[in-house]
Subunit: 516 residues, 2 copies
């Protein structure tokens, strides 16, 4: 996990002893590769069957996720350049019982976009064109392989903004964002991909193209099928094109940075913010003193406050009139001070200071990774109880004697909490010196059970992937999982799409049905 | 359609000669009724099998929709008081092959909530309790039978508002709103039910309860199954409980009323509004001169302008600071006047005037119904072409010689257009003296084909129901309809839920499968 030499990274399959290659999937042959070479441009088939060192090296980038936590063993990457090519690739894989992993930016956090064994990687990276932008409706239509930051730059030039933003925006692609139902920093204001995605074009496992690339804001004609692919993490098909609604770019962006000493006060600040900043609030983010200690240590950054405190809150506003927004922000700060729920707080003076507030908040996840290894969680829990998970996990790890603050030999170094409070979404990052299966087994599924017992779900925005796929039943009742399985059965009856992650049980039953 | 004597209203089945009762559904017997009486409170089983005139009269209210356009022949209404009772009712119906129509407010516009033949009506009207309201997150949890206006009153007292509003709010229930994927007047700002509905509890046809009554804003754990029930119009199950996100009630509500002479100008005004009123715009509504002529004639209302014009636009804002909003509205009006896209326009002076602007807009659909019969459409079309459908339909009906403006004997009296331009959703109301199958067959499917050919869909917010169920293929490709059919097969394998509307073909195939 901590090495920079990609070849030294251990195979995922060796890490997780419960994972066994399903021998009912065929192994890749030269004949298969010849077929793909016959339908795709020459450079868009990367195959290591020929034992070339160069292609092996090239394949590592696709086999390993950006955290260097998961490593698959695929021998083939396909980079189709059109929907039709995706369709031909999938149809062939389906007919030849070849397992597939869809991939775009490969910046996921749960191992969902890399293979476990020798699944063929179908990357949408060669499909990265903007198809259309309508500056009356703000609807952007583009290929799934477009990088989020590129889309942002494109619509910003035209006075609009993409409705989602996240740390990985220079790498992640819109297809992957949709597939993992990404949330991010603008969710509070601009909402979920379930509402912002107006249309999708998807290729199913059998190569069939589902053309639902609607640009309409409203549609009440039948079941909203496209919703199934939002968050399906590539288990139901490959998203090839996306139509997304983009809001106007705000003329004024402001921020407030403040600190407080209790979780009750963070909630009180949130309520006050909703009241005073109603229509202009665009983010309500927090991090705690444990997270901040890592920011100071590893990033040499300081909060813009006179004193340190237990909780730090960043409130951002998007509006159309800077002066109006400033007045609202000052009345918000005034109310906070009057009710005595925050000790210190400042409105940013200019865009540069707003940016500097964000840099501190955005440096938190980076700082958390600097100790060696980090276990990352993205829990969704009702706001009143959300911070208790951090308190509980610290206590739990201390009792297990693996977290000994002050002791240099402590396996766990830090339990940091931060996230999107307005959305009820907290990140718990447990930093360790190095990856250890013992620590992993201590944390999981304990943290997930705690979350369930407090009416939460185990993923708010990262998805399940390999990391949490097996814990689906903790967040969803059996009746819902059975419906999911039925839908998987309909759309991918041979279970070739992204196996070993979601719903593995049914896949095994199903394939044996087919064989018998 | 125009009679006030409910008993004179013709049966739907007589109107539509293509509808034939599916004899594979069992007919109601006294034994069935005895079972329902054994599980439900005495007054919650209304049955006309005993030939009592009183119950027959009572049943009319459930068999006929509010427009008095559709009339079913059900002999039994069930009013369960709990999820468990709904479950028992459905399980029994499923086991006994009895067709069912779910109903709540019965205020739909497409005949989706009334039976066609003798389907048993299961009404959620006796399930109308608010379960829970969280004033930090704004999440409201309630029974499906809660009336929308009651929910509005409840959350408004607590400083919040429901994110949807429509003319029928005193009658419609939240379960029906969700089932028909209702849109309404606040959609532009507060978005779709696909994002505002956080959780649903649903009873499937076989009585199984799907507990997905989540109150979380974010959830990335598996396929978002609840989305399938949003807009399913009761064909997949009965929604029993809803958790919905409610925004803060605005402190300031303002409006602008203006007129202009071309559709290009309406679009220019919309773009200017989005630019100047970005974060505070809450509605952008329009109606045309034809709609206005009916408002003047039937409602004796006048627009608050010196001169008449071709198009009238109502822009509403929701904000937290009245003075700020007023300044923004005046700068918007200034920009409109400078660019010369509107002739006349005024900002409302006070809440009373804001209300008076809305009364005019809201009187449009009422006025359209005053001529006798009205054919109502809720098309979703890209904004640039949206008004062309009104122009086209007028020309088309004139060429067919049924629309002869100025001629008192003209079958078609008026073709009015109005709606939610910001959402790309137009209402076309074709007023006639009386209902005529000839006119109906002239309009449909012509208006739907035009919509499809201009990248639109045949329903933006009313749903399909009986009226448009058979035209689903005009809006959705075959590949998507097949997925819908598969989902129907999974969740309602005996096709007992709301038959004769959605996806009838498959139902017939399926039942014969079962019998053979």
């Amino acid at each position: 996990m901590a090495t920079n030499n990609l070849e030294e990274i251990e195979f995922t399959a060796n890490h997780y002893s419960n994972l066994i290659r399903d021998e009912r999937y065929n192994r890749l042959t030269k004949e298969h590769v010849e077929y793909f070479k016959s339908i795709l441009p020459k450079d868009n088939v990367i195959c290591s069957l020929d034992d070339s060192e160069e292609t092996k090296k090239e394949l590592l980038k696709y086999n390993i996720d950006w955290m260097k936590k998961y490593r698959g063993q695929s021998q083939l990457v396909l980079l189709p350049t059109s929907t039709d090519e995706v369709s031909q690739c999938l149809r062939y894989c389906n007919e030849n019982n070849l397992a597939v992993v869809p991939q775009s930016g490969n910046s996921g956090l749960v191992g969902g976009s890399v293979p476990v064994f020798d699944e063929i990687i179908i990357s949408t990276k060669a499909m990265n064109k903007i198809i259309d932008f309508d500056d009356v409706s703000g609807v952007l239509t583009c290929n799934a392989g477009c990088v989020l930051a590129d889309l942002e730059a494109y619509v910003e030039e035209r006075g609009f903004m993409v409705p989602l933003d996240m740390g990985s925006k220079k790498y992640c692609c819109i297809g992957g964002n949709v597939s993992s139902n990404a949330g991010g920093l603008r969710y509070l204001r601009y909402g979920s991909l379930h509402s912002n995605v107006l249309g999708l074009e998807v290729v199913l496992a059998n190569g069939q193209v589902i053309d639902n690339l609607s640009k309409l804001r409203k549609d009440s004609t039948g079941y909203d099928i496209k919703q199934l692919f939002i968050g399906a993490e590539g288990t139901l098909g490959i998203i090839t094109n996306v139509a997304i609604s983009t809001p106007r770019k705000p003329k004024a962006v402001n921020a407030v940075f403040l600190s407080t000493d209790s979780w009750e006060n963070v909630q009180a600040i949130y309520k006050t913010a909703k009241e005073h900043l109603q229509e202009i609030i665009s983010a309500f983010e927090f991090f705690d003193e444990d997270a901040y200690s890592l920011v100071k240590q590893h990033m040499q950054l300081q909060v813009p406050l006179k004193e340190e405190n237990k909780f730090y809150v960043l409130v951002e506003t998007h509006g159309s009139n800077k002066q109006h927004d400033n007045e609202k922000l000052h009345s918000f700060l005034e109310a906070i001070k009057t009710s005595n729920v925050a000790r210190e707080g400042y409105v940013s003076k200019d865009d540069q200071q707003t940016r500097s507030f964000w840099i501190i908040r955005e440096s938190v996840p980076v700082a958390c990774s600097k100790n060696g290894a980090v276990f990352k969680y993205d829990l969704s829990i009702p706001i009143a109880q959300i911070y208790d998970v951090a308190i509980y996990m610290r206590k739990y790890l201390k009792e297990a004697n693996v977290y000994r603050p002050g002791d240099e030999t402590s396996e766990v170094i830090n339990v940091a909490a931060y996230g999107h409070i307005g959305d009820g979404n907290i990140h718990i990052n447990i930093s360790c010196k190095s990856y250890s299966e013992e620590i992993a087994n201590l944390i999981e599924p304990e943290i997930f059970y705690w979350t369930r017992d407090h009416n939460g779900v185990i993923s708010g925005e990262h998805g399940l992937g390999l990391m949490k796929g097996k814990y689906l039943a903790i967040s969803k009742p059996g009746s819902m999982i059975r419906i999911m399985e039925s839908i998987k059965n309909i759309l991918d009856p041979n279970y070739i799409m992204n196996p070993y992650k979601y719903l593995p049980k049914k896949r095994i039953t199903r394939l044996s049905d087919i064989r018998s």
